[in-house]
């Protein structure tokens, strides 16, 4: 088995899907957390700012109505002397001298840190018992008339702390999501790779010529089992075709070589012996006959191959099986009489379908030809009947075909010589089957008690 390296894992669909889903999920999570942030911390921040803004407005109105003394009193009322108060106030003169408030001096703000509206942020050291804590304050600075400056602020350390925790949680969640997604994707990818690898491995072995290998099926009935089943079905078909080709090649060599051998012998003898005109004529006549046999076998094979590869083509037309059967029966009628076989027709049921007339006619002719060959001379009876489906049945009262041989009899060249001795290329039923397959129909062979009943069923006329 090939090693499933990280490159190979990345190339698997499962891992790429896992990565994609991890990314999507992270984006969704990010959007959700942003909404939570805006809905909680954002709201609190805005409320703080609104409160500070209102406070500044109220104090500046107090200054406008009551002058500096009123403002100082108001500030001292609000801040008291408590250095630990959450609210921070400071009023300074133009030269930054403190007038009122609970802040000891003007805070040091880094240049540029103040917003144009006057928002600033600065640390304040607060004594809580024995402890001195640095706490962050958010404040609004407002310039009053006569150079006075007012600063109203609020301890924002708790908010900042909440924000810090929030972000650290966000980071951990994000890291966890990505890690989990990737790890599970990798794990999944490896599992998928392993199963695909088994299919590929089986395919490679089969390609190397080990045709009886099959892809393992887990039995879970999942997509991989379906894939394995499909591949296995294809392999079964390939194996059958290969087998068929092998049998056909053997049979061709055998069946075509036989007449060719006779031709060769006939001609060689004719050359060696000093034959007179009449003898030479006879020898050449026999040679020609054998050649015709060989060509006949090749043509039959070609027809089967063509029909097997065939699809609905330009030569398709509406056809009536009853009419085809009637014509074919009429062609064989004299032969039947000569052999003492009664030919009975029951073609009252119309059997309309679509197909290639010549091929269907040949298939029907082959069935009749077969039935006449195997029906006992003198007492034979062959019945040709159309039925619903549409279907066509040709039955004889000959020796029939044993049930175990019915499947193989339609394979090329299979001739049940022992049971049904007769002359023929052994290709008749193969052609029938090939023609039917091409037309989407079926050939059924049954016991007619006695004899054989061959039924062809075709798709009804659309």
């Amino acid at each position: 088995m090939r090693r499933a390296g990280i490159g190979a894992v990345w190339r698997t669909t499962a891992v790429r899907l896992a990565a994609l889903f991890t990314l999507l999920f992270s984006l969704l999570l990010g959007a959700g957390l942003t909404a939570v942030y805006i809905g909680t911390i954002g709201v609190v921040d805005r409320q703080t700012d609104a409160t500070l803004d209102a406070e500044v407005r109220a104090l500046s109105e107090r200054f406008a109505s009551g002058g500096l003394s009123q403002l100082v009193r108001a500030i001292e009322d609000r801040s008291g002397r408590d250095a630990l108060a959450d609210n921070v106030y400071l009023l300074v003169t133009g030269s930054r001298r403190r007038i009122a408030g609970n802040l000891s001096g003007w805070p040091v703000v880094e240049p540029g840190a103040a917003s144009p509206e006057g928002w600033i942020s600065f640390p304040v050291s607060k004594r809580d018992g024995a402890e001195v804590k640095d706490r962050q304050v958010r404040a609004l600075v407002f310039d009053l008339p006569q150079g006075y400056r007012l600063l109203v602020g609020r301890d924002s350390e708790d908010q900042l702390e909440f924000r810090r925790r929030f972000f650290s949680v966000v980071i951990w969640v994000a890291l966890g999501t990505v890690a989990l997604g990737l790890v599970s994707g990798l794990f999944l990818g490896r599992r998928v790779l392993a199963r695909v690898e088994r299919v590929a491995e089986a395919g490679e072995r089969i390609a190397a010529g080990n045709l009886d290998r099959r892809v393992p099926v887990s039995g879970r009935g999942d997509e991989f089992d379906r894939l394995a089943d499909a591949v296995n079905a294809m392999l079964d078909r390939i194996e059958a075709l290969m087998q068929g080709t092998r049998v056909a090649t053997d049979s061709i060599s055998h069946d075509v070589r036989r007449p060719l051998t006779r031709v060769r012998a006939e001609l060689e003898l004719a050359l060696r012996r000093d034959l007179d005109g009449e003898q030479a004529q006879a020898a050449m006549g026999r040679a020609l006959g054998e050649l015709d046999r060989a060509v006949g076998i090749l043509n039959a094979l070609l027809n089967i191959a063509r029909a097997e590869a065939g699809v609905a083509g330009s030569a398709w037309a509406d056809v009536d099986l009853a009419q085809i059967a009637g014509d074919a029966a009429e062609l064989y009628q004299p032969i039947a009489e000569e052999r003492g076989v009664t030919l009975t027709l029951d073609l009252a049921t119309p059997a309309q379908t679509r197909g290639e007339v010549q091929l269907l006619a040949q298939a029907v002719a082959n069935l009749i030809d077969n039935a006449l060959k195997y029906a006992p001379a003198g007492t034979g009876a062959v019945t040709i009947a159309t039925g619903p489906g549409p279907s066509l049945t040709v039955s004889d009262n000959g020796p029939g075909i044993p049930p175990e041989a019915r499947d193989t009899v339609t394979e090329r060249f299979v001739r049940l010589d022992a049971a049904r001795g007769g002359e023929g290329s052994g290709l008749g039923l193969s052609l029938v089957r090939a023609v039917l397959r091409m037309h989407g129909g079926t050939l059924t062979l049954e016991d007619a008690q006695p004899g054989l009943r061959a039924t062809i069923t075709l798709p009804p006329h659309p």
Partner: protein, 226 residues
């Protein structure tokens, strides 16, 4: 007759030409489609025999071009392809007959004969076919020999009609299958022979001179014994 043979296989072409010359025909042989086409356009032939697979320009294209140019010379297409579809395509391209390789030379001769001679009794309104003592009434569907009525089955009537329209010429089994039964395949058993022997029983039995003869290795011929 003057025949044009277009066949890329030199051996087959030589065999065709020598066989046809023995039959008294003049033959021009070309080995490619373009040569064949220019020969066919430049010279008046009685018949063109053309292979389907040719270098440069295939046989069916040559036939299509000829027909498009208004040439009516009968064309017989030779081919190694034997599917019904191929046959249909060949005839659709404008050829007059289609013969599959390998073929019997007698079959080829019979086909050439059939293509170059007008089929007898083709004129409309004709109701009688006559070959020596044999008469066929196409209206009443009756056959008589020397005035004596011969009872015929419908199919036998059609076979006889086919022969009488080609009296004096060889008719092959394949031609009968195509012309009378409309079958383009060869039934494995010699069904045609049985049909002919029955027809022969009816028209020749009891008469001194046989009319329907077997031509060995080729087929049959209907001719007035005289």
């Amino acid at each position: 007759m003057r025949l044009l043979i277009v066949e890329d296989d030199v051996e087959t072409a030589r065999y065709l030409a020598s066989g046809l010359r023995e039959e008294g025909h003049g033959c021009d042989v070309f080995h490619t489609g373009t040569e064949g086409l220019s020969a066919a356009l430049g010279t008046e032939y009685d018949l063109i025999i053309i292979d389907r697979m040719l270098p440069e320009l295939d046989g069916l294209s040559v036939v299509r071009t000829l027909r498009a140019e208004g040439h009516k010379t009968p064309v017989l297409v030779l081919s190694a392809l034997a599917q019904v579809d191929d046959r249909v395509k060949g005839l659709r391209a404008g050829s007059d007959d289609y013969l599959t390789k390998p073929f019997a030379f007698s079959e080829l001769l019979a086909r050439i004969d059939a293509l170059t001679r007008r089929v007898g009794g083709g004129e409309a309104g004709e109701t009688q076919l006559v070959v020596g003592p044999l008469q066929l009434d196409l209206l009443t569907r009756t056959a008589t020999r020397s005035g004596q009525e011969i009872p015929l089955l419908p199919r036998e009537f059609r076979i006889l009609e086919y022969f009488m329209r080609r009296a004096g010429r060889v008719v092959t089994r394949t031609m009968l299958l195509e012309g009378v039964w409309d079958y383009n395949f060869d039934p494995q058993t010699n069904v045609i022979d049985v049909h002919i022997s029955r027809l022969r029983q009816k028209i020749d039995k009891g008469f001194d001179v046989p009319l329907l003869h077997t031509v060995r290795g080729a087929g049959y011929i209907l001719k007035d014994g005289a």
